[in-house]
């Protein structure tokens, strides 16, 4: 909120000359690229995320249990790292094209090969890395969906597949939209990947204005425009949903379909492909680089980095999810305009590039620091230093601003599935709203809370720009290390920290998703399976 306001203030403080220059030269192209990128990523994450989420919740096929948590793994890969690994493999200098040239005696230009550094490449990589947002959030709602609603569809003559399309999918709409919005916001805020792929987007414009033209105000004006665009998108979506609701009576868990033969095989393939391309291949590339750099594994500073990253991610995830819970729940309890707007604004942080947020926060925190220092000097004759902006506080604050929307949206999608009469039934028994939250919503929301924790944790682990600007002295994380190495085009050196980041991210992902699986199985414990004969 505060950040947004300080940004808005900056927005109308500067002059618009830079903006008009950009408008005449590059902006149209940037906008076009951004739109294409967003369109592509939208299709990509929805197709990958929803299909895998549906298959792993409503069907049983070999490998389904493993896949149901493994599909989160691509998220642990920073997008730019995946971009690097694919470029390393597929670019003209990479092993694939080199081998082709050697085997067939071709030289460059004799053959057609998809240009990985292109808009298409960026869409592919971002989709592969970001689809787990959709997967996770949608899956959490699929788990909560009531079997009776789907059975109603079948009693009206719909095949399971049509039920999926016409009931399960629309009912999961808040979740799908949430996941996609998150993926799109990340796409909009992404700078590393698109820059590496030479795709100029709106964000490129922001940084070009700032770095190249030295015009921070111009950059912030652009960021403001971006924000407006995002707000518009969100409003359009909200409006299109209008009064429709998504909570269902009697959430009786559905009985999964046993898939056999060709169908089981097909389902496996559909789920394995994104995992292979989004995680296994890049991770193998990282692993091979890491083996070249085996020395670092014995380096204590490297383990220090690992600990920093891990603990920071844990603390930040807990913090952010707590705040988000408070906001989401506040909105449910007191749906007045003030809370609505503040929740809506709190959710926008994700669309703004991390660096812009970091700078905005810097302005705010340093100003607060100056006041604190002045007061402290006047009263105690003591200079406490930069208490807020110079410590981990700033970092945690920045994560909160940036990732609040991830947690918030995940939780809101989950809350939308809980009938309001649950709240009422609890309150009529004398429980205050917070007690209701603890006793009713948290248990029912478990899949969503766990999802939010995973998403924020992994995001913090990967977070780069804000960490770079706001961290205290001599505080390094895996992401920073990987980035510095990769930024100098020392890909092999970037391998170990990147791999470690993935492995650290894996631990919570595995733990939490097992917990999720368990809550799903609890619900199913008394159910028997209906064999499908078609």
């Amino acid at each position: 909120m505060v950040i947004v306001w300080s940004l808005l203030e900056l927005l109308f403080g500067g002059d618009f000359s830079t903006l008009s220059h950009l408008w005449q030269t590059v902006i149209p192209e940037y906008v076009r690229h951004s739109l294409l990128l967003m369109a592509g990523v939208t299709v990509g994450v929805i197709v990958l995320g929803v299909s895998t989420a549906w298959l792993t919740t409503s069907c049983r096929f070999p490998g389904q249990r493993f896949l149901s948590w493994a599909l989160l793994l691509p998220l642990a890969m920073p997008a730019y790292i995946t971009a690097y690994t694919y470029t390393g493999m597929l670019d003209y200098g990479g092993p694939v094209q080199q081998s082709l040239r050697e085997w067939f005696g071709w030289s460059y230009g004799d053959y057609w090969f998809p240009q990985i550094r292109s808009l298409g490449g960026a869409i592919a990589v971002l989709s592969l890395v970001l689809f787990p947002y959709v997967y996770l959030i949608t899956r959490a709602t699929f788990i909560q969906q009531s079997a009776t609603t789907l059975e109603a569809g079948r009693s009206l003559g719909l095949t399971p597949w049509q039920c999926f399309l016409r009931i399960a999918l629309p009912l999961a709409r808040p979740a799908i939209v949430t996941g996609t919005t998150l993926a799109l916001m990340e796409t909009l805020a992404d700078y590393g990947t698109v820059q590496y792929f030479g795709v100029t987007t709106f964000t490129t414009g922001i940084f070009r204005t700032w770095y190249g033209l030295g015009d921070l105000y111009g950059a912030l004006q652009l960021a403001g425009l971006l924000l407006l665009a995002v707000i518009t998108l969100i409003l359009i979506e909200r409006w299109s949903r209008r009064q429709a609701r998504y909570d269902q009576r009697n959430p009786r868990p559905a009985t999964p379909f046993e898939l056999r033969g060709g169908k089981a095989w097909l389902a496996s393939v559909v789920c394995w492909l994104p995992l292979i391309f989004g995680f296994i291949l890049p991770a193998m590339q990282l692993a091979s680089w890491s083996i070249e750099r085996w020395q670092v594994w014995t380096d204590p500073t490297f383990w220090n980095l690992t600990w920093n990253s891990f603990s920071l991610a844990m603390v930040a995830a807990l913090l952010v999810v707590l705040v988000a819970l408070w906001l989401a729940y506040g909105r449910r309890q007191l749906p007045n305009r003030w809370i609505r707007t503040s929740v809506a604004f709190a959710g926008l942080g994700y669309a703004i590039p991390g660096l812009v947020i970091a700078v905005g926060l810097l302005v705010l925190l340093t100003a607060a620091d100056h006041v604190i220092i002045d007061i402290s000097k006047a009263w105690f004759d003591w200079n406490p230093g930069l208490l807020l902006s110079g410590t981990l506080f700033a970092l945690l604050f920045a994560y909160a601003v940036r990732f609040l929307s991830v947690a918030l949206q995940t939780l809101q999608a989950g809350l939308a599935e809980i009938r309001p009469s649950m709240d009422e039934a609890a309150r009529i028994h004398g429980y205050k709203p917070l007690q209701v939250l603890r006793m009713i919503h948290l248990p029912l929301l478990r899949p969503s809370v766990l999802t939010a924790l995973i998403l924020v944790g992994v995001d913090v682990l990967k977070e780069l720009p804000a960490t770079l600007v706001l961290r205290p002295f001599d505080f390094n994380t895996l992401a920073v290390r990987a980035y510095e190495m990769a930024g100098d085009e020392r890909l092999a050196d970037a391998g170990p920290p990147a791999l470690m980041m993935v492995m650290v991210g894996l631990i919570p992902v595995i733990l939490l998703s097992r917990a999720m699986l368990k809550s799903q199985q609890n619900a199913l414990k008394e159910q028997d399976f209906v064999p499908v004969t078609a």
Partner: protein, 378 residues
């Protein structure tokens, strides 16, 4: 007098108005329920009963008027006390059981300050009462619809609230169980001195349970009275029509305080107050007409409904007017048979003919020639 009613009345509604969106759903409802009494709300589907209960519980803000609990105002357009502070229990129309809690946990949910043992005792006692002993460990989705509803009832009873709101608490139960439970719940409420307000669609239930009852129609509470008065002395045509079977016939009061009607000349003390020549509507219940072969009032059976002990016949009188009558189901009268009917009025319920036009009656249900109320449309 005023102070006395204050000390006794546990729940008091005062010209309550409630709006949902732009629609007025509850309109000017006033009523009062004395401590320890059981009140029943009847009314056609969609007339605002649930909305009224939700306002009393504190989930719904009111547009005008006030709600007072034990003399203390809890809802007004400007201030609403939080639901959890009202000490009210509620059985929700859609049960609203907590899906992640077992039956025992659901039932003991509201007993916040009770010890583990107290909870267990109460749960066991209530499960016995609702006919589900041994169901403690089940989850709601492992119960049948009626079982879920009974658990919802037990959950609301467990903490012994001072006021219990029941929104169709027996709708999913079979007649036998419903009747037994109604009686048991009534006993329990009386024993534990819980005041209750019950919404039901079952008049028998209302008659069996209620100390006071009322009929709502399109957001208005038409009459709030004892069940007997409601049936035999409806103060509103709509009430007469809604409670029990019956038809409204037209008659004309003449100078001698008698009424000319399709059933012949009828007498009634209340008619003497009516001016000569006034057209009136009067209510004819099935039991007001006794089959009597000797009677001069004759008709033909148009339809027969089997209702267990009795058949309900729709009879077209020779004058063309249709009325209802009951006859033991052993006596096999057939559609088309002719029979005689003898009027046997205990109360004659008369309405001014222009008072309360019954809106938009459907005439598709042959058994009920006077039609049925349509739900008020949007």
């Amino acid at each position: 007098m005023h102070s006395r009613s204050k000390t006794l009345s546990l729940l008091q509604l005062d010209h309550l108005h409630i709006q949902l969106g732009k629609q007025a759903i509850v309109r000017g409802v006033s009523m009062q329920l004395n401590a320890g009494d059981i009140g029943c709300l009847l009314g056609p589907s969609g007339c605002g009963k649930t909305t009224l209960l939700r306002a009393i519980a504190g989930f719904q803000s009111v547009t005008a008027g006030a709600i007072a609990l034990a003399g203390q105002q809890v809802s007004s357009p400007t201030a609403t006390q939080a639901p959890e502070q009202r000490g009210i229990g509620m059985v929700f129309q859609d049960f609203a059981l907590f899906p992640h809690l077992t039956v025992a946990e659901n039932i003991s949910f509201g007993m916040r300050h009770a010890s583990h043992q107290e909870k267990q005792l109460r749960v066991d006692e209530l499960l016995n009462r609702i006919g589900l002993p041994g169901y403690q460990k089940r989850y709601p989705h492992e119960l049948s619809g009626g079982q879920q509803q009974r658990v919802a009832l037990a959950r609301a009873l467990a903490p012994r609230p001072r006021l219990l709101l029941l929104d169709e608490p027996f709708s999913s139960l079979d007649a036998e169980l419903r009747e037994r439970l109604a009686i048991e719940v009534r006993e329990l409420l009386k024993k534990e001195q819980i005041t209750a307000l019950l919404v039901t669609h079952d008049q028998q239930e209302a008659f069996a349970m209620a100390d006071q009852a009322g009929v709502m129609y399109q957001g208005e509470l038409l009459q709030w009275d004892t069940p007997y008065q409601l049936y035999h002395q409806p103060r509103h045509q709509m009430v007469a029509d809604f409670i029990g079977h019956g038809v409204l016939l037209q008659g004309t009061v003449n100078a001698s305080g008698r009424m000319a009607s399709p059933l012949g000349m009828l007498e009634h003390p209340s008619l003497s107050a009516v001016a000569d020549g006034t057209p009136v509507n009067f209510l004819v219940r099935p039991d007001d007409l006794v089959p009597d072969p000797q009677s001069r009032l004759r008709g033909t059976i148009k339809a027969r409904g089997f209702r267990g002990a009795h058949n309900l016949y729709t009879v077209e009188l020779t004058s063309g007017v249709e009325v209802l009558t009951l006859s033991p189901s052993h006596e096999q009268l057939r559609v088309g048979d002719e029979l005689g009917l003898r009027p046997d009025f205990d109360h004659l319920v008369v309405f001014a003919a222009d008072h309360c036009e019954l809106p938009g009656f459907s005439n598709q249900a042959p058994a009920f020639p006077d039609g049925l109320p349509e739900a008020q449309s949007a």
